[in-house]
Amino acid sequence: MTVSFRDKLLEELRAEAATVPWEPRPARRPARPLVAVAGLAAAVVVAVAVVVPLMSDTPAFAVVKNSDGTVTVRINEFVRPKELEQRLGEEGVRAVIDYVPHGQTCREPRGEIVPQPDRMPLRRAEDSIDFSVDPEDFGPDETLVVQMHSANGDPVKSHGGSVGVIRGPVAPCELVPAEFSGVERE
């Protein structure tokens, strides 16, 4: 009897699996995921606020190009979103960043949401929020859309938000009360 495709592929995968590190890698394994969402509509529903004290002398954000081509964004403070957009643009990611007051959100939908589970989990690090994106993942007409809010308007106290991808034009953020955002409620 000949060996089936299933078994041949198993051999290939076994060889590949032998080359990867199986120990948990702390840097890539967030202890507490904040929100990991595919679409913005869903994101707004699940957005959570966590208390995160921030250091006052850290930069507002950092954008780091990793050796595997991905780009890691760390946000320490919700200020100067346009600068972050520009910085991401330099790394080949078109982005729309909005920092909105607590209790408000951008009116949904802002465009055609691209469902991409686990593509860019948003993580809470020690004193910041970070997420990674792969510029190669984005189609020519796709935009990274990030929305963050801070409790009581105080960016150093707590925050929550969403990260998603929109295909085609992205509507400007029209602020609406969070409970009337047009997001489906259960």
């Binding site: 509509a41 469902p115 991409q116």
Partner: protein, 189 residues
């Protein structure tokens, strides 16, 4: 009975666990791909790519936050969507594991059988093509791929409640589409 059907604590914890994971899902994955592409070589490549992607993104799976099935379908959807984009961009040079070199005549016949068996599913998928993306993706996973609503929601990264709302809406829309059978509209919803 599905009582006590518990998945391993971490099905992607090591090489042995990964092999078991692969064997557990191989058939379902080839069928998932065969509903969406009709070339046996492409089915082989995309099945291989899905498991490779699962291997390399294993740390995005978090035991206890949903089933491995829902997670794997999410991975598979990403692989297919990237592949479609590659074709649209006229085959940018991408380094790929080419599984088709593994295929012999029997394998191709076997995959072709699977592709043929999925013909009704492909027709149903094309009937859904005009639905809004969010609704179509859900309906696909629940009705065609037979995932539970919870698994489909996980694969798409949305909440179960949101999924139910969208399914309800999709069902209402599809009722108006000529040629869509009642079974397609109601099954699993």
């Amino acid at each position: 009975m599905r009582l006590n059907e518990v998945e391993p604590a971490d099905p992607l914890a090591g090489t042995q666990a990964f092999e078991t994971f692969y064997l557990r899902h191989f058939d379902a994955m080839t069928r998932f791909v065969a509903r969406r592409v009709t070339d046996p070589h492409a089915v082989a490549d995309l099945t291989a790519e899905t498991f490779l992607a699962a291997l390399h993104s294993r740390d995005t799976y978090r035991p206890g936050r949903g089933s491995e099935t829902g997670w794997l379908y999410g991975v598979a959807r990403n692989v297919l969507s990237l592949q479609r984009r590659r074709s649209e961009r006229e085959a940018r040079a991408v380094e790929r594991v080419v599984a088709r070199r593994l295929l012999d005549g029997d394998d191709i016949a076997d995959l072709t059988d699977r592709i043929d068996a999925e013909e009704p599913a492909r027709r149903a998928l094309s009937a859904m093509a005009d639905l809004p993306e969010g609704e179509r993706a859900l309906l696909e996973l629940v009705v065609i791929d037979q995932l539970t609503v919870a698994e489909a929601a996980q694969a798409l990264g949305i909440r179960v409640g949101t999924a139910r709302v969208r399914l309800h809406r999709a069902r209402r829309t599809l009722r108006k589409v000529p040629g869509v059978t009642a079974a397609l509209v109601t099954e699993g919803l």
